[in-house]
C-alpha cells in the first residue's frame, strides 16, 4: 500500500493530482487576499494582476465603514456566548450518555440525532416571532441561542465519544482514594478530556461566527458581521465585501489548524 503506482509516470501523475487539488483549495483564498490588499481602484480595474502591490486602503475602508467595527464585536460576543452555552450544556450531557444507563437515554439520543436531519437555521423563523413577544428580538443572546442549537448536537456527540474513550476505572480508582464524584471528574477525567472539549468549543465558535441565515433574520440593528454583510449587500461597494470576506476567513484558517488533530477522530466519526 505504500508503493505509489506501477511506474514513474504513474507516480508523477499522482503527485501532480495532489498538487492540483491543493491549488484548487488554496488559489481562490490567495486571490481573495490579493483583492483585500489592493486599492479599491485596482479592484475595479481590468485586467487585474495576479499579485498585489500591498496597500491597506481597502482594509482601512472596511474598518472605518459605518457599523463594521460594531458588527465584528457583535460576532465575537455571539460566538463566545454560543461557545460557553454549548460546552456548559453539551459536556454534562455527553458525560451522562457515556457513563450511565438510564430510562430515556435512547429517547435523548434519537432527539439529538434527529436535529441533524433538519435544516436548523430555519428555526430562526418561528423564533423571530417568539422573540418579538418576549423582548429578545434584535439581541445577540437571541442569535446565540439559535447558534447554540446548531452546535449543541455536535458538542454532545463529540464529548460522548470523548468520554467513552476514557476508562471508567480511572475514576473508580480516584473514588477509592477518597475523591468525591466531582473531584474525580475534575482531577482525573477533565485533564484527559480537555483537548477534545477545547476542540468542540472551537467548533461551536466557528459555527456561530459563520452562520448567516438565522443571524440575518433575527437582527436589525445589532447585526453580526455576516448579517451586516448580507443586509448591506445592495448598497455596499464591492471592495467592502472582499475585505469582509477576508475577515470572515482568517479566524477559520486558525481554528481549523487548531483542531486538525481531532477533525477525523471526533467530527468524522460523530458525523456518521
Amino acid at each position: 500500500m505504500k508503493r505509489v503506482g506501477g511506474s514513474s509516470a504513474m507516480a508523477w501523475l499522482f503527485g501532480a493530482s495532489l498538487v492540483i487539488l491543493c491549488l484548487w483549495v488554496l488559489l481562490p483564498l490567495y486571490l481573495l487576499m490579493v483583492n483585500s490588499v489592493s486599492t479599491p481602484d485596482q479592484i475595479h480595474g481590468w485586467p487585474k494582476r495576479l499579485w498585489p502591490e500591498i496597500s491597506f486602503d481597502t482594509i482601512l475602508f472596511f474598518w472605518n465603514f459605518q457599523g463594521v467595527a460594531q458588527a465584528m464585536f457583535n460576532s465575537i460576543v455571539t460566538a463566545v456566548i454560543t461557545l460557553l452555552l454549548s460546552i456548559l450544556l453539551g459536556t454534562p450531557a455527553g458525560y451522562g450518555l457515556a457513563r450511565f444507563r438510564f430510562r430515556g437515554k435512547n429517547l435523548f439520543r434519537i432527539m439529538v440525532l434527529m436535529t441533524r436531519a433538519f435544516p436548523l437555521p430555519l428555526l430562526a423563523l418561528p423564533l423571530a416571532v417568539v422573540y418579538l413577544q418576549i423582548g429578545l428580538d434584535d439581541t445577540l443572546i437571541g442569535v446565540a441561542l439559535v447558534h447554540t442549537m446548531l452546535a449543541l448536537p455536535f458538542t454532545v456527540l463529540v464529548t460522548f465519544s470523548l468520554f467513552l474513550g476514557i476508562p471508567r476505572e480511572l475514576e473508580e480508582v480516584a473514588w477509592t482514594m477518597g475523591c468525591t464524584r466531582w473531584e474525580a471528574f475534575r482531577k482525573v477525567v477533565l485533564p484527559l478530556a480537555a483537548p477534545g472539549i477545547a476542540a468542540s468549543a472551537v467548533f461551536a465558535f466557528v459555527v456561530s461566527w459563520n452562520e448567516v441565515f438565522a443571524a440575518a433574520i433575527l437582527t436589525v440593528n445589532n447585526q453580526t458581521l455576516t448579517a451586516f454583510l448580507v443586509q448591506s449587500l445592495d448598497e455596499s461597494p464591492v471592495h467592502l465585501k472582499f475585505a469582509g470576506g477576508l475577515v470572515l476567513v482568517l479566524p477559520a484558517l486558525v481554528f481549523i489548524f487548531a483542531v486538525r488533530k481531532y477533525m477525523f477522530s471526533l467530527w468524522g466519526i460523530a458525523s456518521r
Binding site: P28, L97, T115, F118, L122, L125, A184, A252
Partner: protein, 318 residues
C-alpha cells in the same frame, strides 16, 4: 484501603423511573460509610439542561413552523400561505433551482471526496499537511465562499483578467447576471463544490480509517489488483460513511443561501433565499414559514429515500 463496592441494583424498586436500568456502581468503605453514593438522578441532572434546551429551541419552534404555515393571520387553519407562495412567480424557479443545484453539486462532491480519500490513503509523507489544506474550506462560511468566488468571477475579476491576458476577450464579460443563467448556475455549482466537499472528505477519511487494514492486505496476498480491492473491499465497507455523507450533504444543499445571494442576488432564486426575502423584506412570517415547510418536506423525503435506497441488506449485517 478498606473499601468495597456494591452493585446498585438494589435501588430499583425505590425509583420507578429507573426500573430495569443498571445504576452506576457505588463505592463504600468497610465501616459502612459511603464514599461515593450512587445517585440515580445524576444522569437526569446531567442531561436535563441540554434536553430542555433542545425541547425549547428545536421541538417547539419546529412545531411552531407548521402553525405559522398552516394558519392565517387571524389564527384560523388555512392554506392561504401556500396559495400565496405557489402563486408567487419566484416559487417554481426557486424550487427547481434548489433541486437542480443539489443534483449538480452533491454527486460531484461525493466522487471528488472519494477520490481524495483514496489518494490520502496512499500518501505517507506530508499526509497531515495535505489533510489540513484539503479541509480548510470546512471552516469557511457559505457567505465567505460566495465572496471568494465573486472575486474570481465578477466582471473585473480574475477569471475575466486571465481570459483577457490570453487574448480571448477584449472586454470583461458579465457572467453573473440574468442574461447568462447557465454561467450563473455553474458559478454557484463551482463555489459550492469548492466550499463543501471538505465535510464529505472528513466523513470518508474517518470511514476509511475504520476499515481493518488486514482485509486489504489479505486481498493483496491473493492477488487482487488496486481496482479490484477498491470495488470489493473498500467501497462496500465504506457504505455507512457514504450514506451519512450523502444524506448530510443533500440536506445542506437544500439550505443553499448565502453563496447564491452573493453571486446571483435576485437573478437565481432559491428556496432559502425566498424564505429570507418574505421574512425580512415583505415581513410575512407566514409565507416564510411555508417555504420552510417545503424545505423540511424535501429534506425528509430525500433522507427517507436515501435510507431506503442505501439500506444495508440484512444478510450482510454481522
Amino acid at each position: 484501603m478498606g473499601l468495597f463496592r456494591v452493585q446498585a441494583r438494589a435501588f430499583e424498586p425505590t425509583y420507578p423511573l429507573l426500573q430495569g436500568a443498571e445504576i452506576a456502581v457505588g463505592w463504600y468503605r468497610l465501616d459502612g460509610r459511603v464514599a461515593v453514593k450512587p445517585n440515580p438522578w445524576l444522569p437526569y441532572l446531567l442531561l436535563g439542561p441540554a434536553g430542555i434546551f433542545v425541547l425549547v429551541f428545536f421541538v417547539y419552534p419546529f412545531l411552531q413552523v407548521f402553525f405559522l404555515a398552516f394558519q392565517d393571520s387571524a389564527g384560523q387553519w388555512s392554506l392561504e400561505n401556500f396559495r400565496v407562495m405557489v402563486d408567487d412567480f419566484n416559487f417554481a424557479p426557486s424550487l427547481i433551482n434548489t433541486l437542480m443545484l443539489c443534483f449538480a453539486v452533491v454527486p460531484v462532491q461525493i466522487c471528488l471526496a472519494l477520490v481524495m480519500a483514496m489518494m490520502i490513503s496512499r500518501v505517507d509523507r506530508g499526509r497531515d499537511t495535505l489533510l489540513y489544506i484539503w479541509t480548510i474550506p470546512l471552516g469557511i462560511s457559505d457567505l465567505a465562499a460566495g465572496i471568494i468566488w465573486l472575486s474570481i468571477l465578477e466582471q473585473s475579476g480574475f477569471f475575466n483578467s486571465l481570459l483577457g491576458y490570453a487574448g480571448l476577450i477584449d472586454q470583461p464579460l458579465n457572467w453573473l447576471n440574468y442574461q447568462n443563467p447557465v454561467a450563473l448556475f455553474f458559478a454557484v455549482v463551482v463555489a459550492e463544490i469548492w466550499r463543501a466537499t471538505a465535510i464529505v472528505l472528513v466523513i470518508l477519511v474517518a470511514g476509511v480509517g475504520l476499515i481493518p487494514k488486514e482485509y486489504n492486505e489479505a486481498a493483496e496476498v491473493f492477488g487482487a489488483g488496486t481496482w479490484r480491492r477498491f470495488f470489493t473491499i473498500t467501497l462496500p465497507l465504506l457504505r455507512p460513511s457514504l450514506q451519512s455523507a450523502l444524506i448530510l450533504r443533500t440536506l445542506l444543499a437544500f439550505e443553499v443561501f448565502a453563496v447564491v445571494l452573493i453571486l446571483g442576488g435576485i437573478d437565481l432564486p432559491v428556496l432559502m433565499g425566498e424564505s429570507f426575502k418574505w421574512q425580512f423584506e415583505y415581513r410575512d412570517a407566514g409565507v416564510a414559514a411555508t417555504y420552510a415547510v417545503v424545505i423540511l418536506g424535501i429534506s425528509i423525503a430525500f433522507t427517507l429515500l436515501f435510507l431506503w435506497a442505501l439500506r444495508v441488506p440484512e444478510e450482510a449485517q454481522g
